[in-house]
Symmetry: C2
Subunit: 297 residues, 2 copies
């Protein structure tokens, strides 16, 4: 998936200065209550050494800007989403036992499982506090509720995925897991700015757009990892699930069709959102669809 992530990060609508500001306030809010020279601070700084694609921060900044939100609100919404995403990465690596993240040692591998668990907790809590630092407070309850919902649905997908690991999985279940695993956090990049701009009627469209994009992104990831996952019989991979009833070649084709469908739906919904606020998501959809077509040739 590295190539896709690298490609995504090229669509930099946000300036490097803005992304640096997002990282700065994310870190500041996380370490604010901590003592110097503690293991939790060291683990955070280790994890933040490499930025990753920051695609979620960029989606959020882009939507918030299009909707006319203040600079302070743009930055804080992006930092909240990015902080939550980082929490999910630290936890995913632990739960999937991946020892590498962004070209360096994963937090759990370097500092132990307990520190990874604790850092995740802290970053989740900090995501909420970053919302509390916004200019206008009237929408704060709706923002918090939206964020908790996204966290809950992601954790539900994650729990289902981890508990079923190794078990034979129905295609329907497999796609439901793909939808809920990264969709809700992508949706959040649009939902939080829309709530702040008082555009509640667009929320369900934004949520669906994010879920479909997340599912497309996940299935593409599965296509990329299919060879490895076939070898380890990882039934969390959609291609592996398809190949139980189809030939290897047909399983790939079917997964590609599904991914294309998800991305097309996401793009269509994203285009319908107000003030062209999901323009960057539309670009991501095009780019991934193009990558899919190239892989089919």
């Amino acid at each position: 998936m590295q190539s896709m992530k690298n490609n995504i990060s090229k669509f930099t609508s946000a300036s490097k200065i803005q992304l640096d500001e997002v990282n700065r306030i994310l870190r500041a809010a996380t370490v604010e209550p901590l003592d110097e020279n503690t293991v939790l601070r060291a683990a955070l700084d280790h994890h933040l050494l490499q930025n990753g694609s920051q695609s979620r921060a960029q989606l959020t900044l882009s939507a918030a800007k299009a909707l006319g939100l203040s600079h302070n609100n743009q930055i804080h919404l992006a930092a909240a989403v990015e902080c939550l995403h980082n929490a999910s990465l630290v936890q995913d690596d632990l739960q999937d036992e991946d020892t590498q993240r962004r070209g360096q040692e994963a937090v759990w591998s370097r500092f132990g499982s307990n520190v990874a668990i604790n850092l995740t907790d802290l970053m989740i809590a900090t995501s909420f506090v970053l919302l509390a630092q916004m200019d206008n407070q009237s929408c704060l309850p709706a923002l918090l509720t939206c964020m908790q919902r996204a966290i809950a649905v992601t954790l539900q997908g994650q729990s289902r995925d981890l508990c079923d690991k190794g078990a034979t999985r129905a295609i329907k279940t497999s796609l439901a897991v793909a939808e809920s695993k990264s969709g809700p956090l992508f949706a959040l990049c649009l939902e939080l700015p829309l709530i702040t701009a008082d555009k509640f009627s667009s929320l369900s469209t934004a949520q669906q757009a994010g879920n479909f994009f997340g599912a497309g992104y996940q299935v593409l990831d599965d296509i990329h990892d299919a060879e490895n996952d076939q070898a380890t019989e990882n039934s969390a991979n959609v291609v592996v699930v398809f190949s139980e009833v189809l030939s290897a070649k047909d399983a790939y084709c079917e997964a590609q069709t599904v991914a294309r469908h998800y991305l097309a739906r996401a793009q269509q919904l994203a285009e319908s959102l107000p003030d062209n606020c999901a323009a960057l998501l539309v670009q991501y959809c095009s780019m991934l669809t193009q990558q899919l077509e190239e892989s089919e040739q």
Copy 2:
């Protein structure tokens, strides 16, 4: 520590009806975004089957009532604190590898580590959402910031404790860990109602009272567990640390002196808080001090 916890729960200032209401809205807010029949929901319901002492919910209800907060605010503040406490229990059991909680199987032991980790995340997020459901919203940013700080300091103490396990520990470090492990969440029971009542000038006293009470509570716990912890050379236990430089009997005496000191300080500070809002904490201090005296005879 069972006897102390049982004793604490006897000081029921809150009615059973109120505590039931706290539990009901805590559960409702947690499961609201989840589908039926999911493992995360099953794990939550399993954990909530037994209530525990609910001493934190009681402290919060009692403080909120004394400060004249609305019924809705009393209940939601107590639910937020109790939800966070439950998150910490699920995580503590996993990290300490304790297989039993409240007379039944611990979540991680029954549903696996990953579900325990995910449930903790969800309950932390829900604690913030419960604050968002309060009547007046003007104090919401301050409430969120206060809660994140308490979480951060607790995690910092927990990380220090888990990373140092087995290592020889200085008495000073050992007491610092005791202070930060449960103190911040006890302090929260007073801080959140004080913030809602707009009594910001009392916050630092409330924080210190909570920290000292938490430390006293922790050292008493250590005295209770000393025999087991001596056998396993668990240097997280203050008595074990003292016994490295003192005779076994003197180590006990020293730990008792320290516990008495902490509880006296907590009581003194709690008594100075406005509207007698920490009256229940004062009662807890007296009760634990009395228990200490009985154990000395």
